[in-house]
Symmetry: C2
C-alpha cells in the first residue's frame, strides 16, 4: 500500500501531510465493507471533492470566458465534469490500477467502470482540499483539466484527450502521435486493454482501459499531463 500511495503522490505532484486522506480517497465502499469498516470508504470525500471540482471549474470558466453568459458557462461546466471525462483523467493517473476494491466489485469489472473512477478522482480532490486547502486543490484540478478546455465555450463536447494530444504534438513536432495496443487481458466479457501512446520524439506513455478507445484516451491523458508538467517546469 505504501508504494501505491507514494506513486499516486508522484503522479499528481502533490505530497500529503496526512497520507491517510489519500488512502481514504482510493477506498471504494465495496472494499471498506469487506474490511468490516464502512467508514473507510471514499464516499464522504467524494461528496466534498465534487463541490471542490465544481468551484474550481466554475471560477476558471468565469475567468477564461469573460464575455460568456451564465447559461453557456453552466453548459460548459457540465461537459467538463461529466463522468466519462473524469474517468479518462482518472485512468491517466492510474487510479484504475490503484483503487481499493472489494472482491465482488473486482470480479464484476468495477476497476474499469467510469463511475467508480470519476468518484475516486473527486475523492482525491476532496482529500487534497482537506490536506492542503483550497489553493492546493485548485492547482491540481486546473492542471489535470487544463488540456480539456475548448477555445470557446460554445464548442460542443469539450476536447477529448486524443484530439488535444494531437494538437500538442503537431505544434511541437509537426507530427501526430501513434497508438499501439500492448496487451489485452482478462476474460472476454471484461477485457482490459493496455495501450502505448508514442510521441514523435520517442517518448512513450502507457495506460489501460476497458476498451481500445478508452485506453487510448487514457494514454493520451498521461502524455498530455507529462508534457504540461515538463512545460510548467521549463517556465
Amino acid at each position: 500500500m505504501n508504494q501505491i500511495l507514494a506513486s499516486v503522490q508522484d503522479d499528481i505532484h502533490y505530497r500529503f501531510k496526512q497520507v491517510k486522506l489519500l488512502e481514504l480517497a482510493l477506498a471504494h465502499s465495496s472494499w471498506a465493507n469487506e474490511q468490516g469498516c464502512p467508514e473507510l470508504s471514499n464516499e464522504r470525500l467524494e461528496f466534498l471533492g465534487d463541490a471542490v471540482l465544481e468551484l474550481c471549474v466554475s471560477e476558471e470558466a468565469y475567468r477564461r470566458f469573460p464575455d460568456s453568459a451564465e447559461g453557456l458557462l453552466t453548459k460548459l461546466r457540465s461537459r467538463l465534469v461529466k463522468t466519462s471525462t473524469l474517468a479518462c483523467v482518472a485512468r491517466g493517473l492510474g487510479l484504475d490500477r490503484r483503487m481499493l476494491l472489494g472482491k465482488g466489485e473486482e470480479a464484476q469489472g468495477g476497476r474499469e467502470r467510469d463511475s467508480l473512477l470519476a468518484d475516486a478522482l473527486e475523492a482525491l480532490f476532496g482529500a487534497v482540499f482537506l490536506d492542503g486547502g483550497f489553493a492546493a486543490a485548485q492547482e491540481l484540478v486546473l492542471r489535470l483539466l487544463d488540456p480539456l478546455w475548448p477555445e470557446t465555450p460554445a464548442l460542443p463536447g469539450g476536447k477529448d484527450c486524443k484530439s488535444r494530444l494531437q494538437e500538442l504534438t503537431q505544434e511541437h513536432f509537426r507530427q501526430r502521435p501513434v497508438y499501439a495496443l500492448v496487451e489485452s487481458s482478462g476474460p472476454e466479457h471484461h477485457k482490459t486493454f493496455e495501450v502505448e501512446a508514442q510521441l514523435p520524439d520517442g517518448q512513450r506513455f502507457r495506460a489501460s482501459g476497458p476498451s481500445l478507445k478508452k485506453a487510448e484516451q487514457a494514454a493520451a491523458q498521461v502524455a498530455i499531463h507529462a508534457l504540461s508538467s515538463t512545460r510548467s517546469q521549463d517556465k
Copy 2:
C-alpha cells in the same frame, strides 16, 4: 448608490477592495437590460457564487458530522441552500431593499421574490470570493448560515430563523422574542410587510417581506446575525 454599497459592506462585515464587484452582485438582469448593458447583470457572479456556497456548506457539513454518510450530508446540504432559506438570509441583510431592479420587474413585485433574493445572495458570495479569495467567502457564508445548522443532520427541514432566535433568547434571557407588525404597504396583490423583532433586553431588529411570516423570519435573521456578531466580537 455609494450609500447602498457602504451599508451592505457594513452589514456583511466585509470591505471590498473592488467595490464594482459588489455593485455587480446587486444588479438584476432586468436593471442591466434597462441600462442597455446586459453584461452589468449579476448572473455570472451568481453562477460562481452558487459553487462557492456549495463548497462552503459541503465542507462544514463534512466537519460538523464526521459520522454521517454521504447521502445524509447531500440531503442536509440541499436543505441549507434551498431558495427560501437563502431568500430569508438575503432579507435579513436588507438585499431586498438594495437590489437594482428594472422598472418592469419592480412593478411585478420582483423585490419580494425569493428566487431573485437567493440569486443576489449567491452573487454576493461570488463577489466576495473574487475580491478576497476562498477564505473570505467561506467566513461570510459560514457566519450567515451558522444559525441554520441542525443539531444532527437527520433533523428534518433545517432550523428556521424564528426557531433559532427563540432558542438563543431562551438561552440568554430565559424569555421569547416578540414580533410586531410595523407597517404594511403597497397595493393589495403585492403588499410589503415590515416587522420588528423585539428581544427581552429591549433590542429591536426590523426587516420586511412579502408576507407576515417571511418578514418575521427575516427580522429573526437580522437579530440572530447581530447577536452572533456581538458574540464573535466578545470572544
